[in-house]
Every structure is written in structure tokens, then in C-alpha cells.
Amino acid sequence: MEERISLMESLAAALESGYTPAAAIIELARANPELKRPAQTIATEGDFARGLSEAARVFGKDSPLAHILLSEAEPRELGRLLRHAAASARVIRQVEREREAMLQWHRRVCRLLSAVMSASAVIMGRAASLFFQAFVSPQTSVEFSLAVMCLGFSALVLSEVGDDPRWLAVSPASAMAAHLLMRVLGA
């Protein structure tokens, strides 16, 4: 994204210094290989409109630039538009970074919740199993059932923040650790 914003700023500078959009693209294509194709379309095929569309696509299919470039504004005006578009793209990039940091924080919390939930489900299951074994039947155990149920709940919590599904492995690992701990403690 940084390269795209820099390219946008270079294009804005070229337009502000008096280049026409076509000349600016051809000039910038010397240092930016991604603009070579649009420059070629303009310079050799003479298809200005298609060249501009191709140049706009370099900035991403939904970049505001695509529309600004095709709005047929006067070059200096276009330069001003582009400079502002680049500045707002920088703001959005910063926002995206902050959002990613915020989501990352929530993901860590959800992994922790998933682990704690699974461990406590197994502990609850062990307590219930001890009760069944004492009063109902010595073979009855619900630990595994609760661990399976908790796997579903963990998936629900992790998918809430779009975490990597591989973190689902935390749930059985934590359940197994809780089970071993209880064995060690003699429960």
C-alpha cells in the first residue's frame, strides 16, 4: 500500500508541475515498472482512455484514484485531487493498522478464553463423573462429552474475531492438560 500511495504522490507532483495526465504517466513509467503497460498503451497505441483506465487499475481496483483520473479534470486540479486522495489513503492505512492491532488484542483474549473454558469444562466433567461413579454406575464419565462440546464453543468464540482456525487446537490441548493435572492430583 505504501508504494501505491508514493506513486499517487509522484503522479500528483507531476500533474501539479504542468504535465498532462498522459505525459505524467509516461514520465513516471520510467521509474515505475507497473506503469509501463499503461504508458505503452498511451504512447504506442494512442489509446488515451484505455491507458488511463489501466493506470487507475495499478492503484487497486477500488481506489478512488480510478474515478478521479477518469473525471477529466484539468491537470493541476487533478494533481490537487490526487494529493488529497494520497493523504486520505495514508489516514486509512493508519486506521487499518490500528484496527488490526485491536483485533489482535481481541484474538489473544479469545484464545485465552477458549483455553480456560475447555479446562474448566473438563474439571466440571470430572466432578460430575465422580458423582456418577459413586451413585449411578462406576463406568459413567462425562469429561470427554464436555470437552467435545467445548470444542464447538471455542470455535464459536474464535470465529467471532476471525482468528486462525488452527488456534482451535488450544481447546483440546487445554482439556488434556486439565485432565492430566487432575490425574496427578488424584481426582
Binding site: P64, A87, L146, V148, M149, C150, A155, S159
Partner: protein
Amino acid sequence: MGSVGEVRQRIRAVHAFCSGLPGGLPVATDLAASLAGEPYAHSFREALLRAAVEGDPLERALEESLSRHDGAFREAILSLARGADLESSLEVLRRFAAAELERESRDISLRVGVRTTLSYAAMTLLVTASVIGSIPPESMAPLSLALSSVMMAVSALRWVRWRRGSP
């Protein structure tokens, strides 16, 4: 409570509007109409149409067509439309995005809290029911498996949605 993707849609709409602002209000509205997702794009298109057909000033047309959206979004667009200079328009965009991120974070916390509470409540309820004999302990395994499968399927759909929505 808005969905996770909705926050991005709203920021994207304000960003598009802000980007086109140096070209004037019609360019900004046109840009937002083409780049924002629904239902926001529809409101911008409606404003353009109202201004063209009924001859209303675009600012008033925007005010009317954005009235169905919430106050924060409407306020951000209208303060940009009311002639914010370029520097302060970036500030409006920054402030709006920060407020949206805070709202998204609060929504996620609330949803995760609700899910966790429900999970514990469901597990406690099932264990208690089997201990007091309302459901036989042997039926815990198929019940858990069924519940877990449903939740896995729902989660898989959510993961697909997240993957589609990621940049």
C-alpha cells in the same frame, strides 16, 4: 449491534467522500456512490438523483437521503459537505474512523462476553440436568456431539465470511 464488516463499509464510504472533496461536492458524492458498499452507496446515488431531478441543492439532498443512517455517519458526511477545508476534512475522517474502531471493539467485547456466558450456562445446565436425573448420563455424548457440530458449522461460515471480508 453492527456486524464486523459494516464498520469497514462505513469508513470506506466516508473515505471515498473525503477523497473526492477537493473536486467539489458532486465529485465527492459521485465517488462515494461508486465506491461505498450498500446501503450507503444507495443513499449517495439517491442524493445525486434528487439534486438532478428535483433541483434541490446537493447538500440538502444529502441531508435528506442520509437521514436513514445513524447520527455519527450522517454528521461526518455533512460536516465534510459543509465546506470543511482539506486539512480539517482529513481530521474529520480520522476522528470518524477512530470512533468507529472504538465502537467495533466494544461490539466484539460484548459479543464474546455473551458467547462465553452462554457456553458456561449451557454446560452447567447439561451437567446439572444429568446429575439430577433429568437426562440420562449416557445421552450426554450424542447431545454434546450434536451441539458441537452445529457450532462448528456456524463457526466455519463465519470464518469464510471473515476471509472474504479481509483486505
